[in-house]
């Protein structure tokens, strides 16, 4: 499909130590099928996520957690976004998000939380909306 209008660029990522990749692959394919360009990485350090997001000039970051680190890792990534002067780059979180994770995740400014069973159309629509809103004002 040559020469369509530029579509959102998305970074989807999980820890390299977490081998549960079914969820992130499902989301990646859904976003691809919605015409987005999806960069995938497994990060070693949370700060690496921001380095990659800057190099790839993405419009949104999606973090997948299937084991631990939901709050701590997200806080580190958000802090690094502020340090690198891109505090507005939207971050969404998905996977195994426990009830007690929600308040601290919202406190650091996570825009959306997706759990297992979230309808893919909603997920895609949210990525699209947040990405386009970000791109329109940078």
């Amino acid at each position: 499909m040559p020469d369509t209008a530029p579509q959102p660029r998305v970074l989807l990522t999980k820890s390299f130590i977490d081998s549960h990749d079914r969820a992130i692959a499902t989301i990646a394919l859904a976003l691809r099928d919605a015409a987005m360009e999806v960069v995938l990485i497994d990060y070693e350090q949370p700060e690496d996520v921001v380095t990659v997001a800057l190099q790839e000039d993405v419009d949104i970051i999606g973090l997948s957690f299937m084991s631990g680190g939901q709050v701590e890792t997200t806080q580190k990534i958000v802090a690094e976004l502020q340090r690198r002067e891109v505090p507005d780059l939207p971050v969404v979180v998905g996977g195994v998000i426990r009830p007690f994770d929600v308040a601290p995740l919202e406190a650091v400014g996570v825009r959306e939380i997706f759990r297992g069973g979230a309808p893919l159309t909603d997920v895609v629509a949210t990525f699209d909306r947040l990405a386009r809103a970000y791109r329109s004002h940078v």
Binding site: M1, E56, D57
Partner: protein, 329 residues
């Protein structure tokens, strides 16, 4: 926000690129890839890359191990070329236009290194293994003071050879077990190589693949400029030799800007490619009813595909408006 700090007009963006600001480099690449007004201005401003910047093309079939090879080769290359940029191209979906860009998954170990800049590009319908604007992106990276730019193509078939016109030294990565002597003899991607690399040398079939390729190289005797190396990213065997071979090839290049002799690498075939791109954009973007008629007549068999294409070409001059006299003055 860095975008604001770097400015969004071409001049201030270019200044930030020359100051090596990673986000400015990334935004500039986006602008060039999206062919915005700013991107076009930037592409013109950086055209004709600095002679210092070396360029290396890495191509080969899907799954040959191109990304893993680059990842494993970086520790060899970084001491010799201090700042390295890598462009990795993956295909766009022919259905949706989206893409999954997964090459840098293999390069995670280098994410934190400030001397390594990696950018994933989607081919966006462009054939040939690279993107339509890869040359301009390479020039931009040279302007950002990169010492080496590596271009990893889409996993190619037999004839995606555009990277040959873009890079100083070309590596074609071959995986063991993908073919016999007949495959090695065919025209195409193997011909553009400076270095043929049999990857996964730890696998049992690797020696046979290496033999087929060596036999093909012997066919031309002393005329042959290509060399063949076996490497394994698993055992790291052969990686140092490959690093040395790349150095030797760069050392053998004529001094001065690499493209100077070839007029910036622009030729009739470049123009033909650009014309095809421009024609496709015009045809896909128009609502001219005559085009619908042509397509209908073709599908009904009233026009052959060749006749339809010629009819569409005639239509194109109408769609694009009259050309300006200044082009030829």
């Amino acid at each position: 926000m860095t975008g604001t700090r770097a400015g969004s007009d071409a001049a201030s963006l270019l200044k930030a690129v020359r100051d090596r600001d990673p986000l400015a480099i990334a935004r500039a690449i986006t602008a060039i890839e999206n062919r915005t007004a700013v991107g076009t201005e930037l592409a013109v401003a950086v055209r004709g890359r600095a002679s210092r910047c070396r360029t290396l093309g890495v191509t080969g079939p899907p799954g040959a191990g191109k990304s893993s090879l680059i990842n494993a080769l970086l520790p060899e290359l970084l001491p010799r070329y201090r700042r390295v940029a890598i462009l990795t191209v993956d295909p766009s979906s022919p259905i949706s236009g989206g893409a999954v860009l997964g090459d840098r998954v293999r390069m995670a170990a280098h994410s934190a290194n400030p001397d390594v800049f990696i950018r994933s590009l989607a081919a966006r319908g462009h054939l040939g293994g690279v993107t339509r604007t890869t040359r301009s992106v390479m020039d931009l990276l040279a302007a950002a003071d990169m010492d080496l730019v590596i271009v990893e193509t889409v996993g190619t078939g037999q004839s995606e050879v555009e990277v040959a016109n873009l890079t100083d030294v070309k590596i074609v990565v071959c995986a063991p077990g993908l073919g016999d002597e007949m495959q090695a003899m065919k025209a195409g991607v193997l011909e553009i190589a400076d270095l043929l690399v049999v990857n996964k040398a730890d696998l049992p079939d690797a020696a046979r693949t290496a033999t087929h390729l060596t036999a093909m190289l012997h066919h031309r005797g002393h005329e042959e400029r290509r060399s063949m190396l076996s490497v394994s990213t698993q055992t790291r065997d052969g990686l140092k030799a490959l690093g040395d071979a790349i150095d030797d090839r760069f050392a053998g290049l004529p001094a001065g800007p690499p493209d100077a002799a070839a007029g910036g690498g622009i030729s009739r075939s470049t123009l033909a490619q650009d014309v095809a791109d421009a024609a496709a954009a015009l045809l896909l973007g128009t609502s001219d009813p005559r085009l619908t008629t042509i397509v209908e007549h073709m599908s009904q068999g009233k026009l052959s595909r060749h006749e339809g294409a010629k009819a569409a070409l005639e239509l194109l001059t109408d769609l694009d408006g009259p050309s300006e006299a200044r082009i030829y003055s």
